[in-house]
Amino acid sequence: MDMIAEKFDAIVIGAGMSGNAAAYTMASHGLKVLQFERGEYPGSKNVQGAIMYANMLEKIIPDFRDDAPLERHLVEQRLWVMDDTSHTGMHYRSEDFNEAKPNRYTIIRAQFDKWFSRKVRAAGATVLCETTVTELVRDAKDKVVGVRTDRAGGAIFADVVILAEGVSGLLGTRAGLREMPKPQSVALAVKEMHFLPEDVIEQRFGLKGGEGCVIEAVGTISRGMAGLGFLYTNKESISLGIGCLVSDFAATMQSPYALLDALKDHPSIRPLIAGSEVKEYAAHLIPEGGYKAIPQLFGDGWVVVGDAAQLNNAVHREGSNLAMTSGRIAAEAIVQVKRRNGPMTKQNLVLYKTMLNKSFVVKDLKKYKDMPALLHTNSRNFFTTYPQLMSQAAQNFMRVDGTPKIEKEKATAAAMIKARSRWGLVSDAVRLALAWR
């Protein structure tokens, strides 16, 4: 087939959060951008809980609130520790979150990504959906100069290629830019959308007009694996899911579906979704390796952003904001290099890394760098033993049965020590504190 003579300033692979942020930023700075998305439309393949963080999007599209498809703004966060029949935990709810420009929103990625992509197109980028990039094209000096796709018609060229292909990152791996993510640094999350009328959701969670609530939960629900359950309220649906490390699934032979089914059936969750109609079922990977898993981020003619670069904060369940920010920063770096008429070489693109290091993205990831390993190696304690103990303790405390309170406390402490030696408890506490700090 004939070759396409036309050349672009930048090619973006993927129209998820990071790819859209990058394409939008470059196009609004006047660069000639071509973006590929393998899905039928942007968002069609994307699964996310999902919470969207306003600050990071504001930096890209300040007035996004005017027309972005936002479900609910969050006024309440619940952190639950669950055993098989109970949950304890913390609720935080504040009227302060009902502000003019709320800080966090639930979104439905399929709709949100579509909206974002419209903005990208309006900014002047060319977006090709249903087109999978199959290969990076390199010149004689090994610089990435373009891509090949699964459509007939050969290669297409650009000064720089931005890999924003998400967690599996096949393309980058195949091109030898980075290693395959390791099973212990990737979580598999399964998720369902439960449809319920708007007023039912608001009634069940005590919400009014546009307010939203999030529950995040750990405990025996992950059957001893390092994992997290989550429930997000959307306008007329609830996203419910659970994720655990892929390596744990492999080791324990548990099925994610069974986990999700058990979660749905948990007495603390069941009433919240009762009567709903389940419509979408999806599974997706989340990079969880943290700081230590970040691969090489740039090279001759290429940069990698978002999940593909393992930029994901497993501790705070933030992914999309790191994705958006890394996409924006990469784009800004590229715009700067372009302004000075510099070639898109490794030497020049290091600017992306430098800028990223200064941002919260790398700082946060560095802060929690030991967390993934800790939770992984000690998952039985963190995700089974302690939740059970906490639940026992709470129940002990609540039940009025004539036992003196002081004895109750003693019993709780004894149970803890019995389950995990005193030394083990202390060391877990210290290590958790160190990792979280």
């Binding site: 399929a110 796709t149 459509r151 109609e277 419509k279």
Partner: protein
Amino acid sequence: MHIVICIKQVPDSAQIRVHPVTNTIMRQGVPTIINPYDLFALEEALRLRDAYDGEVTVLTMGPPMAEDALRKALGYGADRAVLLTDRYFAGSDTLATSYALSQAIAKVGETFGTPDIVFTGKQTIDGDTAQVGPGIAKRLDLLQLTYVAKIASLDLDQREIKVERRSEGGTQMLKSRLPCLITMLEGTNEIRRGSLVDALCAARSQVLKWSAADAGIDDLTRCGLRGSPTVVKRVFAPATRAEKAAQIDTTEKALRDIADELIAAIFTRQPALEHELAFNGGA
């Protein structure tokens, strides 16, 4: 040669759910697609274009978001797209739809050359009437070839076309003349994947957006709700059967016994059936 193909953007009915309480369609998150039957017509149009050298214009009537469907059609390789969109079209039934579309096709013809063939799909998956195609043909006074399984030959000089048409119990071989309207049968071809160039062109080309006035429609009383002789008076969910299926208990029983039990239950409910099966059946 110039071919016009009418496509419709429809909700993917495989994913539609009815709200259990309010009995309304839950559209949230329901993706829209090009009516699957239209893709067979589109592919046939593209093949003819490739073979006889010409142009394919895709036309749809719908809300502004129907542009997505047109853009997709361009991605398959269509040359031009026209979106007929106007609030006057809201609530059109098949008669009003075929009126608006036929006026637009006439306008397309004036502007870009008279079409030799107009294609439509066999039917839509939401309206599901299979009437819009025949309606357009009648209004434009085109010869009508429905349920076409194959275009056997086409002679542009003689203006002659031969097709195989699906009819009850067999295939009709028909000879007719251009210009004509063809509704294409499903399963007759497979929509192509556009090349990278097609995809690039599709992403960049303009979809022409025509209002009723742009399409040269001056009689608005024939459009939309006003131009529709049919009126939807009531929408409701199908009645659910009160009792669920009576289950044959299978616990700790041999398959053979379960089978016997099922057969007994069948013949208890349909006593005449045993006799019929025994004497007319295959056993």
